[in-house]
């Protein structure tokens, strides 16, 4: 597959690139909250304007910003269709078999898809403008208060960042396994309860085996390079926040509060 991996870091020198990674991560978290909270149409407008502004400022192309949206487009289609056709039998345009398409469902479908796309664009901008190491460091810094109650923040940050890196690979592998078993004559659905588990074994067992094989290889590689555990690692010291950082935080917080006020 000759496509860009999702969230690949693209070095640059835009105002977004220069923001403190902790601010970017926190900002992402707050913007996603705002996206979840959106209610009226004008709210969508505000989010859209904000995202467009951020993308423009980051100097990343629209294509990069919409990167993983492409990968998920079939999923969006499913979500959209499901909502349109099954949302509610009330006020349906017509009713045929189990399908009850309605304008309320259509709106709901648009709504869900739009929110996910917004959230994806927001996280694409952050992951494309921030080196993976920086993200991990920032995550570590942000969850380090948890260490006071005995939670190993660095290790959790390491686990999360590895997990995120594995997602696209596993997606492709899973699709391959599904096709290979289908070609061998597998049927993943069975009417009988007793056979339902057996029906998905040809799918699930290979997925886990290939995933654990990767885990095995990676852990051998890491241990061979002398990686014992995250706790011994020296934490990166962050420079104090700059004016830009405070300003960026202020904007996202304002947008989030606005979404709550106009709900």
């Amino acid at each position: 597959m000759n496509r860009l991996p999702t969230g690949m870091y693209l070095p640059g020198d835009s105002p977004i690139h220069r923001l403190d990674p902790r601010v970017k991560l926190l900002g992402l978290f707050i913007s996603v909250t705002a996206i979840i909270l959106v209610r009226p149409l004008i709210g969508y407008g505000v989010i859209l304007a904000f995202l467009a502004f951020t993308v423009a400022l980051s100097g990343l192309s629209i294509k990069i910003a919409l990167n993983s949206v492409q990968r998920l487009s079939w999923f969006f289609l499913v979500i959209f269709m499901m909502n349109t056709f099954f949302y509610s039998p009330e006020n349906a345009w017509f009713s045929w078999w189990i399908f009850t398409p309605s304008s309320a469902g259509l709106m709901q479908g648009v709504d869900v898809v739009l929110r996910v796309v917004f959230a994806l664009v927001a996280s694409n901008v952050i992951t494309s403008s921030t080196a993976p190491m920086e993200i991990t460091n920032a995550l570590e810094a942000l969850i380090s208060p948890f260490k006071l109650v005995g939670i190993p923040a660095e290790q959790i940050a390491m686990i999360l960042s590895i997990a995120i890196q594995f997602i696209p690979t596993f997606s492709e592998e899973t699709e391959m396994i599904r096709k290979a078993q289908t070609a061998r004559g597998a049927r993943f659905d069975s009417k009988k309860l007793t056979e339902k588990a057996a029906a998905v074994l040809p799918l699930v067992v290979p997925i886990f085996l290939s995933a654990f094989k990767r885990a095995d290889e990676l852990s051998i590689a890491m241990e061979a390079r002398g990686y014992r555990s995250a706790s011994g690692r020296t934490r990166k010291k962050f420079a104090p926040l700059k004016v830009d950082d405070y300003f960026a935080l202020l904007i996202v917080i304002a947008i989030c509060i606005l979404q709550i006020l106009i709900r």
Binding site: A183, R184, G185, P202, L209
Partner: protein
Amino acid sequence: MPIEIKHASYTYFPGTIFESLALQDFSLQIDDGDYVGIMGKTGCGKSTLIQLIAGLMPPLEGQIIIDGKDINARDYPREELRRKVGIVFQYPEVQLFETSVEKDVAFGLRHSGLSKTTIAENVRWAIETVGLDFEAIRAESPFSLSGGEKRRVAIAGVLAAKPKILILDEPIVGLDPRGRAAFLELTTHLNAAGVTIIMVSHNADAIAENAQRVIVLEDGRLLINAPAKHAFRDVALLQEKGIGISPAREMAHLLSACGHPIPQDTIRYQELLPFLINIGKGASR
């Protein structure tokens, strides 16, 4: 039973801004018992093509006709297609999941409607065909085998259905030279027994040495469709398009450029050898 692909088109994510064309108005016929090598750069539509032939997805336009029947017709028996067409994906060993080798190889025959004895015979035949000792390995867990054995078992799992058409997607990637040779020999052996082989590979040597017909794709269209001997004729074109040529062909090309009379349909090592010997004799004289 020829495979006819008639004006097939396939587009990923049609109607969105992410639309990407994989195959465009693509027509091709593959005859019974042929050994076809498919080449092309990544993203040229090779994988789409073989998945269409295997019936894993329907073309958006056009038809795939096997044995005179449209395989995507509503009343076409899917089970029959699964038995007729076998596909071995890259790294097929990931598809193993059963508790024993025997069960895993028999998996594809579960819905075949064949009798128990026929299934058992097919399984034994498939395991022995890939060069494994049936009695020694039948009860083993497929996961405890070595990498090479795993791949053989996975291929046996496809062969057990005795497909008349066998599609191979980069089958020799990751094999050692001996495993590679053994596998390619298996394909010619199956081909000699009447199985149509369709092999996708970046390895020009493997294709030149084994295929009778070579197909080169570019941007979802047919660039070359010719008997293997002629497919590699235009070295400059293939190099320009970033498609490999076999070492034997490349050597013949270079030698003829140096003024040695070597036919330009020399693509295999064995064909090149007599000329090399002659040239060697000439030099020592």
